[in-house]
Symmetry: C2
Subunit: 193 residues, 2 copies
């Protein structure tokens, strides 16, 4: 409450710099992981001084938190036919992954940083498990079924976007949907084997 009429923060002159830093940070974290993505390198990419990063984001951990603060919300799947959920999910994750590299950064960093790993786990807990509970046969199996789906999707992301196996990068979108779709469908809805 500043007493002024403006309720939300006024647009500051430095917002452009803030955004530039954040964009450079996202690229560097996605490409190099946490330790190798140095503040100096990010600042060099953004054409500013390293001390500006500290001023605007506090410290390196704060920068990373701001860089990966996105929410990969699942689409409204309630309108989908139950037999197509697998394919729809794969398509959703595929486009999600290709259009913003924060998710690649999250895997790269999560491989060594427990905090980032927990952030990924929260997506599992708050989105994938509830979905499995809605569409699956037995509610108490939802965590296991969701975990299997996560392993399938993250496995593809790992080989394709992180490790960059040529054989995995060569797969076309439709090919991936055709192969992984039935897998997720089975993990979610098939009876216990």
């Amino acid at each position: 409450m500043t007493g002024s009429t403006e309720n939300q923060q006024a647009a500051r002159r430095s917002d452009a710099t803030r955004a530039t830093i954040l964009a450079a940070a996202r690229e560097r974290f996605a490409a190099d992981g946490y330790e190798k993505a140095t503040i100096r390198a990010i600042a060099r990419d953004a054409n500013i001084d390293p001390s500006m990063v500290m001023r605007y984001y506090g410290n390196k951990a704060g920068l990373f938190a701001a860089a990966v603060a996105i929410d990969p919300g699942l689409p409204s799947l309630s309108v989908e036919p139950r037999e197509a959920i697998g394919r729809t999910l794969v398509r959703h994750f595929l486009t999600l992954w290709e259009e913003n590299g924060e998710l690649t950064a999250l895997i790269r960093v999560g491989a060594t940083d427990p905090a980032a790993a927990e952030r990924m786990q929260s997506v599992l807990r708050e989105q994938l498990i509830p979905l499995a509970r809605r569409v699956g046969p037995a509610p108490e199996q939802a965590p296991a079924r969701a975990a299997l789906c996560a392993s399938a999707v993250l496995g593809l992301a790992l080989t394709r976007y992180v490790l960059r196996f040529p054989e995995s990068m060569a797969l076309g979108h439709n090919e991936i949907v055709d192969w992984l779709g039935p897998t997720l469908q089975r993990y979610l809805t098939a009876p216990t084997p």
Copy 2:
């Protein structure tokens, strides 16, 4: 040739230290990744001086290379019935992963180090693709089918041993084989969807 009768290297007094260093290095690399697993920390675990690591392994890269110098050879699958390859493969990888942590280290480091990533890729090329070519329907599809298998297996390893999702760690061995077995079986042998 030293002129002595012994042809192969004699057992040296320092072999115990060498082994201790290597064991500590494996644990640290698996737990922390390449950058956070410092030579000083590894030496502290092994109760020796950091300079010994340099003397015996040259430099940090050499230490890591020695720590992950293992060959996850596939068992002789030619004797297996063709319909059980999926389940057999899953069981094989599962035991492989649990009894030596080098593979976890390889994923953790491969997430940020291209050299380690290439080492993983070589397993795909030299073992999984030939297998897919032997058991699959169309030889030219072998790389794609093998890449899908790798994504399934590595995805489970990622969520279970690297990110350590509780929901993934809670899965029992038989449960994993029952769910992932048919997936690999389909990736390897099913007709193109």
